[in-house]
């Protein structure tokens, strides 16, 4: 556990050293603030004290931002060879991956903490469904965890950060759009499977305030699958080259 934390802190600092963290937080707050307060179905237009516009935007921003955070994590270590240095220390493959995963979640958490003033302001403007807001935040965290898992996996299979980024977007696109579209076009068992795989249903039900263990399981299993696949890719060095 100590090792995981040491690695997470290093990665976390690297986010701030390389400006990625500042850019992410600023763009995240700027985009979501713009759509919450100023444009489209914003709070004043709908006349409702609701965080729904905020969560609807976060749904998209996380889709782009998480792969941007994870893309360098293993790809760069593979490229420069620092992975060898890291794994010959007293750490296991899993600890390295979990440390990196944790650092992404920490940064997402920080970004979300900075968005709390939006919540407080809206709550001050009118009656708000507090339960739904906290569930919405939980939904973002869970979704981020799923994308981080995917991102770490794509970062593990290549030495090129851009490839890792695009591949993570591509896989994310399946969960975000393609499975949903397929589900709409199909009936029967296949339709149900695709509907289950689609992110939006799970995310929307959580951000409306309904916590269903199936939704939580859905996000956590994508995340875990990504992490285990990344570990399997790292372990490949033991069998072939």
């Amino acid at each position: 556990m100590k090792q995981i934390w040491t690695i997470a802190i290093r990665e976390f600092r690297a986010f701030f050293d390389s400006l990625i963290a500042y850019i992410l937080i600023m763009v995240f707050l700027g985009l979501s603030g713009f759509f919450t307060w100023l444009y489209g179905a914003d709070v004043f237009y709908t006349g409702q004290a609701s965080m729904q516009p905020f969560f609807a935007i976060a749904y998209w921003t996380m889709f782009f931002f998480i792969p941007a955070l994870t893309m360098k994590m293993l790809a760069e270590e593979n490229n420069t060879g620092t992975i060898e240095l890291l794994l010959t220390k007293d750490v296991s493959d899993m600890q390295v991956i979990l440390g990196k995963f944790l650092s992404v979640m920490l940064l997402v958490l920080i970004a979300l903490v900075f968005s709390l003033p939006y919540y407080f302001t809206i709550a001050w403007l009118g009656p708000i469904d507090h339960g739904a807001v906290w569930c919405g935040y939980l939904g973002i965290l869970l979704m981020s965890a799923a994308y981080a898992g995917i991102g770490l996996f794509t970062s593990s299979i290549t030495k090129n950060q851009i490839v890792a980024f695009l591949l993570a977007l591509l896989i994310g696109m399946f969960f975000l759009i393609i499975f949903g579209t397929l589900a709409g076009n199909m009936t029967g068992v296949l339709g149900k499977i695709f509907a289950y795989l689609d992110v939006s249903g799970h995310y929307q039900s959580i951000s409306r305030g309904v916590i269903d263990s199936r939704d939580i399981l859905y996000f956590l299993s994508i995340s875990a699958l990504g992490i285990f696949m990344a570990q399997a890719v790292l372990a490949k060095r033991n069998t072939t080259n």
């Binding site: 690695i7 290093r10 690297a14 620092t82 010959t88 220390k89």
Partner: protein
């Protein structure tokens, strides 16, 4: 702590990068690991440091085996990989702190340990710079410092002096020798002088196979075979000297150097030395020896002999 490598084999696809290698290294030894590029040095080191699993065979470090106690071994090994990969965007001190924490050093002891490493590796002026801003020599020192930070019993260095200037090479070698007196060190290189200068024992591998194992001087002697002398004898007729030299019992053949007059290259018979015989011959005939040089085969020749076939 001893390292014993037994029948180690690593296969990449159809190719055996390391092919049934066995050797042991004892505490206090600095083992030179020699071989041409692609001979399997790096692969062997990666296996000993628990970065990769072997296809066959085993490695034991002290009482631990790489298959079962990788974590215990990793704690005791300091490793400087080939090309010295480092996080370029981290300051030196921060990086050393990161490594110290990973290796499980007690938090209270870390600042002191870092201080000692900075001193030992001569990083005092550069310690707050980012690693990416350092020159190659200083990066190499950071690589050594991170390998030594947890005071490991075993040190594995993959080509530690490549790309350094001559002064830096001497410094790093001295550092290795100083550290190596109480630790077990394996050092890979393809430079012969490095082995002659630093190592107490050398192993030569070629195409994945072990071809020689012994002290640098022993290896040299093995390759040496019979004695070869370069002699200049004056005050005599070259043909006369040539004939008389050939009649000596210890001399196998004599060559005249076409570029210099009165210069002979004498190859000896088996292990007998012909130095005395040549001297006596000259005394009898009133010739003067102005030069007599024994030709020694260098480690370079040993290396070429063993790895080219």
């Amino acid at each position: 702590m001893n390292i014993s490598v037994e029948n180690l084999t690593k296969t990449y696809g159809p190719q055996n990068a390391v092919d049934d290698i066995s050797f042991t290294v004892n505490t206090g030894e600095i083992l030179g690991f020699l071989g041409p590029n692609g001979a399997g040095k790096t692969t062997t080191m990666k296996i000993i440091t628990c970065y990769m699993a072997p296809s066959q065979g085993s490695v034991r470090v002290g009482d631990y085996s790489i298959g079962e106690h990788a974590d215990e071994i990793k704690k005791r090994i300091g490793y400087l990989p080939e090309h010295n990969p480092l996080y370029k965007d981290m300051p030196v001190i921060e990086y050393l702190e990161f490594v110290a924490k990973l290796q499980g050093l007690a938090k209270s002891g870390i600042p002191q340990r870092i201080k000692k490493m900075v001193q030992l590796c001569g990083l005092d002026l550069e310690k707050h710079k980012k690693i990416g801003e350092l020159s190659k020599g200083y990066r190499q020192r950071v690589g050594l410092a991170q390998a030594l930070i947890h005071d490991p019993e075993i040190l594995i260095l993959d080509e530690p002096t490549t790309g350094l200037d001559p002064n830096q090479i001497v410094e790093i070698r001295n550092l290795i020798k100083e550290i190596g007196s109480e630790k077990t060190v394996i050092l890979s290189t393809h430079l012969m002088q490095e082995v002659e200068a630093t190592c107490s024992r050398a192993i030569i591998i070629s195409k994945g196979k072990l071809v020689a194992d012994g002290a640098p001087s022993t290896l040299q002697k093995q390759a040496q075979g019979s004695e070869v002398l370069k002699v200049t004898i004056e005050d005599g007729v070259p043909e006369d000297i040539y004939n008389k030299l050939q009649q000596l019992a210890t001399v196998k053949s004599v060559d005249l150097d076409p570029k210099r007059s009165n210069h002979f290259i004498i190859a000896g018979n088996s292990e007998l030395s012909s130095k005395r015989g040549v001297f006596q011959l000259c005394v009898q005939n009133n010739w003067v020896i102005t030069e007599m040089i024994p030709v020694e085969k260098s480690m370079e020749d040993v290396f070429r002999n063993l790895t080219l076939n």
